[in-house]
């Protein structure tokens, strides 16, 4: 069977505030791939994720969706790509004036031009999928952090993305709320969703990821299966880093 590349970045360069934050990053996601981005704070993980759905336009390099290069200068290609590349933010970024259901349906209506009914129906399905059947009509101010993040996942899934990018989806959550979000992510993985996730949840992602990608100072310095990189006898930067996180969070890596 041929592997199908969904999203590929080649040699991405990005400058922010006079600094080169990404210095030539290449990464490819095949269908069903689950890759995890790790690395120290400021290494460029968020910037890379935002470049991958062109919330940041890279200064150099190219981006291919389904093997077709994307023209950064073409606005409609940009909006097309963003529909197909879902994004989950650390801070949820729910629309505060809309109920959970409306948060999910608004982009179906305004971007995919679906009718009110059709969009509402789809929103219900996606909210059920993340276990929020009974919270559909609540507003963000009435939801817990974990529930908000699940709404934001439902919102992204409703657009039928080919890839989901997750930027530390559990970092803003109280510890007791983390697992409800991880359960949803694990379900997505089970269903074959292609994902790239920045996270500090090492043991969770080691069990899930096909590949760990270690970033430092704007480049990828190591990548490989979590098994290799974290093996007993391995000497990897990734392993050192994970050990440090484990020490800080008390987690068993």
């Amino acid at each position: 069977m041929e592997t199908q590349t969904v999203l590929e970045a080649r040699n991405i360069i990005k400058n922010l505030g006079g600094n080169t934050v990404l210095r030539g990053v290449s990464i490819a996601l095949n269908k069903g791939d689950i890759k995890v981005l790790i690395g120290p704070s400021g290494s460029g993980k968020s910037t890379l994720l935002q470049c991958l759905n062109l919330l940041h336009i890279p200064e150099g390099g190219s981006l291919l969706l389904d093997n077709k290069p994307v023209n950064f200068k073409n606005k409609s290609e940009l909006y097309q790509l963003r529909q197909k590349v879902g994004m989950i933010f650390q801070e949820f970024n729910l629309f505060d004036h809309l109920s959970a259901k409306e948060n999910v349906s608004i982009s179906l209506r305004k971007v995919k031009k679906q009718g009110r009914k059709e969009a509402a129906k789809r929103a219900e399905i996606e909210l059920q999928r993340v276990g929020l059947d009974d919270k559909m009509n609540l507003y963000p101010a009435q939801l817990s952090g974990g529930q908000k993040q699940r709404v934001s996942i439902a919102r992204a899934l409703a657009m039928d993305p080919e890839v989901l990018l997750l930027d530390e989806p559990t970092s803003a959550l109280d510890p007791e709320l983390i697992s409800e979000v991880l359960v949803v992510i694990r379900d997505l993985a089970k269903n074959g969703m292609t994902m790239l996730m920045a996270t500090h949840q090492i043991s969770f992602s080691a069990a899930l990821a096909h590949e760990f990608v270690f970033m430092e100072d704007g480049i990828i310095t190591e990548h490989g299966s979590p098994k290799e990189l974290l093996a007993e006898n391995a000497t990897s930067r990734t392993k050192d880093f994970c050990a440090k996180i484990a020490e800080l969070t008390g987690e068993q890596a």
Binding site: N53, L55, K75, Y79, Q80, R82, Q83, G86, M87, F89, E91, N93, L94, F95, D96, H97, I106, S107, K110, V111, L138, Y139, P140, A141, Q142, S152, R155, A156, M159
Partner: protein, 230 residues
């Protein structure tokens, strides 16, 4: 003072009622136009590209920075003498008043809307764009509805002010409540009674507007956007 009641019912009230209709015909369109101008210019000042942003800034600076009386005089007395080539604008007194009030209150609304927009966390705009919305769709559907809620009490106040400063229309020959009141007072030499009733008319208008605006605010209320507890 003995014939107070007959004077009021026979002369003041009929006169002021016809003035009331004129006032309402100035206030209602000015309130709507002003709000539309305010929302547009407030949004331009935050999100529009440089030249449009600067033009909107200049608009607000000019209309907040000059007396409304001077603005109204300009539209009514000065504009007819200004021509661009063959082109010359002459507006009726009522149109001048509506244009003047709309532009003036638009400038104030613009301030509230701008503040409301700046108070929205930028992450929501980013999330909208991440879902494939273009910036205009995201601003219109995500940011503006929230900014409008945040700005609403300021905008309400501006509409209340508008009701009161609509009395300035009387200086360009318009027989609104104030204009009619002045006529009645002059003819009858009974200033006290007349202007007392004129005041009551405005008080009634403001009270009515307050009730309507409060209803609208209640209708738009959403958890997380409640008015801050005083």
């Amino acid at each position: 003072m003995s014939d107070f009641i007959p004077f009021i019912t026979a002369q003041v009230i009929p006169g002021l009622n016809s003035g009331l209709i004129v006032s309402i015909k100035l206030i209602v369109p000015s309130a709507f136009l002003g709000l539309i101008i305010g929302v547009l210019s407030g949004t331009f000042r935050v999100y529009a590209p440089f030249p449009i942003r600067k033009i909107s800034d200049a608009y607000v600076a000019i209309f907040r920075g000059t007396p409304l009386v001077v603005q109204i005089y300009f539209w009514y007395f000065a504009l007819p003498y200004t021509s661009i080539g063959e082109f010359r604008i002459v507006m009726s007194a009522e149109t001048c008043a509506i244009v003047g009030f709309s532009l003036c209150s638009g400038a104030y609304h613009s301030e509230y809307i701008r503040g409301g927009l700046l108070s929205i966390k930028s992450g929501q705009l980013l999330a909208g764009q991440a879902l494939g919305m273009n910036p205009i769709t995201a601003i219109r559907n995500i940011v503006l509805p929230q900014a409008f809620r945040n700005a609403f009490s300021g905008c309400s106040n501006e509409i209340i002010y508008l009701i009161k400063y609509s009395s300035i229309a009387s200086i360009i020959t318009i027989n609104d409540i104030t204009g009619m009141g002045r006529g009645i007072a002059k003819e009858s030499w009974r200033n006290v009674e007349t202007y007392l009733v004129v005041g009551i008319y405005y008080l009634a208008l403001v009270t009515l507007a307050n009730v309507i605006l409060y209803r609208i605010e209640k209708k738009m209320e959403i958890p997380g956007f409640e008015k801050e507890q005083a």
